[in-house]
């Protein structure tokens, strides 16, 4: 009996470990996608005035990325160095070019973002129907693959213009 219990416990542990790696692989990919989104967007120079020439990527709320984003931060976007910021205070998002909205902020992100509309800030999230509720890019899953929806209108309001190739790859456009 106890032997079965031990086996069960071990299986539990293994399963957990597998789940853990799965999560981190998914977010590694998503982290890479976030950088690639930036690459398929026409950024005007004006967008970098507030950030003194840096490209700011911010994680709002609890970060699911682990260290994946930190690993990518040595790269460059539009020939600009990447600056990472993890925060839960909406006022600190002013200088961000990409804001990943964590699921932990699902309940109150709409109000916060609508109350402080900002130009050249791309919002990305895993939150369901994010693109329909004022967000711009929403990660979804299609047949075990990571895809995304884009709210083009909302993006245009914030001065964000996508390259057509990105739109072709998107699952849904609004």
């Amino acid at each position: 009996m106890s032997r079965i219990l031990v086996v069960l416990v071990l299986m539990q542990v293994t399963m957990f470990a597998i789940a853990e790696t799965k999560v981190s692989k998914e977010y590694q990919l998503k982290a890479a996608y976030m950088l690639n989104f930036a690459r398929f967007i026409y950024w005007p120079e004006e967008a970098f005035k507030v950030s003194s020439g840096m490209f700011n990527i911010c994680v709002y709320g609890e970060s699911p990325f682990g260290e994946s984003l930190d690993k990518l931060s040595t790269k460059k976007i539009k020939n600009k160095n990447i600056n990472l910021k993890y925060t839960s205070i909406p006022e600190e998002l002013n200088e961000c070019h990409i804001v990943y909205v964590s699921i932990s902020k699902e309940s109150n992100y709409e109000e916060e973002f609508n109350s402080m509309p900002r130009m050249y800030m791309l919002t990305v999230s895993d939150i369901k129907d994010f693109s329909a509720k004022g967000g711009m890019i929403e990660f979804i899953r299609v047949k075990k693959r990571i895809k995304f929806n884009i709210n083009v209108n909302k993006s245009q309001e914030a001065g964000i213009k996508y390259r057509s190739q990105l739109l072709e790859v998107a699952e849904q456009l609004r």
Binding site: L29, R39, I146, K147, L166, V169
Partner: protein
């Protein structure tokens, strides 16, 4: 083979070969350019397609959207030559693949952005990098068949061949027509020429149609025929004439025969006369020989006269000299006589007489008598005078003796030369010259002529001494006279006779050079002629005779003068050969 062809066939062959070569070369060049440019076009077209598709695959690759990538690759099927396409990531993972060929299965090559394309037989691989923000994130490989190129090439070769054949046919047809135009007159001309030769009909004419070279040829041919016909006609006439004249010639011939016979008789007569003439001629030749002999004799006589004249000259030189010496002898003799006449010897006899009177007391007479006291003083004075007289007389007697010796010498010398006529004996040229000078010595001294001798040392020669002497005396005497004559004109002028004895390789020469009156250039060639004389008292055969004598000695006399007043130089030249002493 080619030579046997007609002109037309030759021209046509040449034309076809040249046209074929030109057209063929042109087609080959155009074809190769065409194929090359087709290849370039196909490759650059594939490259452009590759770049476009690679650009469109950037987003699918960035967001791992294999479907989008596949659909992009599928779009390549519109391009008929493309058989395969694939995408590899920078990590060398195959991302997407599309195969259009049903017969063959291809593999995606490893990631590579260094080589833009590979050509393998009929397959070409084009590698287009996929960039995201300037960084390569993968590479698109497109594989295409070059069938299209082959098809295009075959098609263009077919068209070219068709065009080639067509052009050749057209050009041959056209050129045949043109050649007919050119060759027709030649053919006609040939026919006419054949007719003329086979039928001997010179009235035929070729048609003249054009103004080109063939036209000119036809014209000339017709002209030629005109001339031949004309000549033919005139030949016929001439033939007739010739027949007539042949007849008359035959008549003439018989007449000529007659005349010939007469002529033969005449010739015989003439040859008889010629024989007679030839006889006369022979007598004439005999007469000429006779006269020549007479002339020769006469010449010899003249030679003898000249020779005796030469000898006379020597003799007159000798006599002249002897006369001069005799003059000195006379002077010396009168001086001695005068001296003897004036001699103080008589005074001595007076003293002797005085002493004889006082024979008894000589010492007393000398010691006490006034006159006797004077005697020793007187004797001493007398002794001095007599001593002086004796000295003077000795001197005069010496001179006398010398003069007589000289006469003796001259005479014996003359005798020695006179005796040696025609005899060759060992002779020293310098002695010979010295002898000749001796004979002329008095004359030279009288005219104050200086003699310079430049004698080279030469061996003794075997010579007819007398003859040689005659010549040298004559030359020296001439030189002396020339200087004398010049001296009458210009007394200030130097008076030098230079005598040079020298030896050249095969001959010896005695040169007598003077500073005398000189010779006019025009006179030089007459100098040796018989009777030519310039001096009033000359006899005119001195040099003539000398020249003959020199010739007898086997030598010659040459003369040089720069003109009147510039002196002259005569040279007796004798060969060494035959004259030199052989031991």
């Amino acid at each position: 083979m080619f030579r046997k062809l007609s002109i037309k066939s030759k021209l046509l062959t040449v034309y076809i070969v040249i046209t074929g070569l030109v057209l063929g070369t042109a087609f080959v060049i155009i074809m190769s350019i065409n194929i090359n440019s087709s290849k370039t076009n196909i490759i650059s077209g594939l490259k452009v397609v590759g770049e476009i598709v690679a650009d469109r695959c950037a987003a699918p690759l960035a967001f791992s959207d294999v479907e989008s990538a596949n659909s992009n690759l599928r779009a390549l099927s519109s391009h008929s030559s493309i058989v395969y396409a694939c995408i590899r990531t920078t990590e060398n993972e195959q991302f997407s693949e599309y195969n259009l060929d049903v017969e063959e299965v291809f593999q995606c090559d490893d990631y590579n952005v260094e080589v833009p394309l590979k050509i393998n037989n009929y397959l070409i691989d084009i590698y287009s990098p996929i960039y995201l923000e300037g960084q390569p994130i993968g590479v698109l490989q497109i594989k295409a068949r070059l069938n299209e190129l082959t098809e295009r090439t075959v098609k263009s070769i077919k068209i070219s061949m068709l065009v080639f054949v067509g052009l050749m046919v057209v050009s041959v047809v056209v050129s045949r027509r043109v050649m007919d135009l050119i060759i027709e007159p030649i053919t006609k001309l040939k026919d006419v020429a054949q007719n003329v030769t086979s039928n001997q009909d010179y009235s035929l004419r070729a048609n003249e149609s054009s103004n080109d070279e063939i036209g000119v040829l036809v014209g000339s041919f017709n002209n030629m025929l005109d001339q031949i016909q004309e000549r033919d006609n005139s030949l016929l006439k001439e033939k007739e004439k010739a027949e007539i004249s042949a007849e008359s010639a035959r008549q003439y011939a018989s007449e000529t025969e007659k005349i010939n016979l007469e002529l033969e008789i005449e010739i015989r007569e003439r040859s008889r006369i010629e024989d007679e003439l030839s006889d006369l001629n022979e007598t004439l030749e005999d007469k000429v020989v006779e006269r020549t002999a007479e002339l020769k004799e006469l010449n010899e006589k003249i030679g003898d006269v000249a020779r005796s004249a030469g000898m006379a000259e020597v003799a007159s030189g000798v006599l002249h000299n002897v006369g001069n010496v005799l003059n000195s002898v006379n002077v010396s003799a009168s001086l001695i006589r005068e001296q003897v006449r004036k001699s103080k010897v008589e005074n001595l006899s007076r003293v002797v007489r005085m002493l004889d009177e006082h024979r008894d007391d000589v010492p007393g007479f000398i010691g006490s008598d006034e006159k006797g006291k004077q005697i020793p003083k007187f004797l001493s004075l007398l002794s001095d005078q007599l001593g002086a007289e004796k000295k003077l007389m000795y001197k005069e007697l010496d001179d006398l003796s010398k003069s007589i010796d000289h006469i003796k010498n001259v005479i014996s010398m003359q005798q020695s030369y006179a005796g040696s006529v025609g005899v060759r004996e060992k002779t020293s040229l310098s002695d010979l010259v010295e002898d000749a000078l001796k004979i002329n010595l008095q004359g030279m001294q009288r005219h104050g002529i200086e003699v310079v001798k430049e004698f080279e040392k030469i061996p003794m020669l075997y010579l007819d001494k007398h003859k040689a002497l005659q010549i040298v005396i004559n030359l020296i005497s001439n030189a002396k006279n020339a200087i004398k004559d010049e001296g009458e004109k210009d007394s200030e002028k130097e008076k030098i006779i230079t005598i040079i004895i020298s030896k050249e390789s095969e001959q010896v020469s005695i040169e007598v050079k003077d500073t005398g009156i000189g010779i006019e250039p025009g006179d030089i060639k007459h100098l040796f002629e018989y009777g030519f004389k310039k001096r009033r008292d000359g006899h005119g055969y001195g040099l003539h005779h000398s020249a003959i004598v020199a010739n007898e000695l086997g030598g010659k006399i040459t003369v040089k003068s720069e003109g009147l007043g510039k002196g002259a130089s005569f040279r007796l030249i004798m060969p060494i050969e035959g004259n030199v002493e052989h031991d």
